[in-house]
Symmetry: C2
Subunit: 263 residues, 2 copies
């Protein structure tokens, strides 16, 4: 078998579809956008679409499939959303009920699929500009925190914004803001730079999700809106059913990260 | 009475609410964003919201109100969408049935309101950078054309993109692209520069909507996605009921155009 990191998005999706890959997708198909998955029954779809429209930084929509459709058009022309994600989480009334490798048997005609941008895309752009990313260096998950910044609510969906944090050297902060601002459809520029307490983070050394990372002398914490936000908001709303990807087990698209840049 | 061009957005909306102003809003409350209005019954709302999500250049959403809500939150904290627009068009099954000054008596609990960005916002930015705008100089309506570029369809909503055209001197085109690209929530950068035929415009001298304007020696036609697109698409879908602003009779917000700029 080819080195896994050298496979094309299509080759990886084929492996996943055949249940030959069920691990996290970080570092795979470098250069190509990966996406978070949220599937909801139609009765929740308008509210959730509106929630994303109102909160584009934590919920940057890459593609929405109409009720019952499981084939993407924009992100890939040959993907099947029921099989092409390594692991799915099945939630009922907000509770994790099962972790599965495909959802064909669960599929219903009223399912609406939301594919949401992921920070892997802008991290690659930061690395290309020689801005190091601590959690990657330390082989950890990014530090994530629940803030006191409320999202704009929509119907049953409401909750605080979740952010990811990357420590950045002071002389690289401007560049980090400029680079990530280009990626409006994958969280865009930071939502806060500096004091964690100013956005309601009391226990900075203990992230709410992910791992703590080393912060070197002089480095400043920089906070970006995080794709965990929509998942947290959906769980809180306790819909009858919701299917998501398992954390880190993303949908791999045929769209280059660079194609998602604004300017 | 104060000079009408000096009134604040709130003062203008109050005049309009009292039925003391029912004329076009071009040139009023300079610096503040104006918005196109589309009101649809709830059964069409998901499809139309999805249409806008898929076609952000012609359909840049500034605010969407949940079913039955007629008060904006983002665009203004004291506006009433039922009374604060100078003239409304009432369409049934795609046919214009009435032109009215308020819609309180028509209001229903399932109405969903969409407020869509308008090119007035980026035109002001062009003028501030000393890029002249021909149809304003000539006191005409902007030239608009139906292209052969299909919008991405969503449910019952589909149709070609409508564009507006402004002739620009060659040495100002780069600046015009850069400036308008900053305004992603009000149509953003051009969708085409140059040959009208390349985007399916056969009769360049006869715009499909608006007025023809003078094109001076050496000037290049530059085309931007136009807010007429969503209206044309909605009319084509022939919903039971649709309420829009009358052309040029826009909603005036309390948000500065500059606040809509991306970078």
């Amino acid at each position: 078998m080819k080195d896994i990191s050298q496979l094309t998005p299509k080759e990886i999706r084929t492996l996943i579809r055949r249940a030959k890959w069920d691990k996290p997708t970080a570092g795979m198909a470098m250069g190509y956008a990966q996406a978070n998955l949220v599937i909801l029954p139609q009765k929740y779809a308008f509210d959730f679409l509106l929630f994303c429209q109102r909160n584009p930084k934590p919920c940057p929509l890459l593609e929405v499939l109409e009720p019952g459709k499981y084939r993407t058009e924009f992100l890939s022309s040959d993907a099947d959303i029921r099989t092409d994600i390594p692991r799915y989480h099945i939630y009922r009334k907000g509770k994790l009920e099962a972790i599965v490798k495909e959802i064909r048997s669960l599929w219903k005609k009223d399912f609406v699929t939301f594919l949401i941008g992921c920070s892997f895309s802008f991290e690659e752009a930061l690395l290309r500009s020689k801005i190091s990313i601590r959690h990657i260096e330390e082989n950890k998950n990014v530090s994530m925190y629940i803030t006191h910044i409320p999202c704009k609510s929509a119907g049953v969906f409401q909750g605080p914004m979740v952010v990811s944090m990357r420590p950045i050297a002071p002389d690289q902060i401007v560049k980090a803001v400029q680079i990530t601002s280009r990626y409006a459809s994958v969280h865009g520029g930071p939502i806060h730079i500096g004091d964690p307490l100013a956005i309601g983070i009391k226990y900075f050394k203990k992230p709410d999700f992910g791992d703590p990372v080393t912060i070197k002398e002089g480095e400043i914490p920089v906070f970006w809106a995080c794709g965990v936000t929509p998942q947290a908001v959906v769980m809180k709303a306790k819909p009858d059913l919701c299917i998501t990807h398992a954390p880190g087990h993303m949908f791999i698209s045929d769209i280059l990260n660079e194609e998602l840049a604004v300017l």
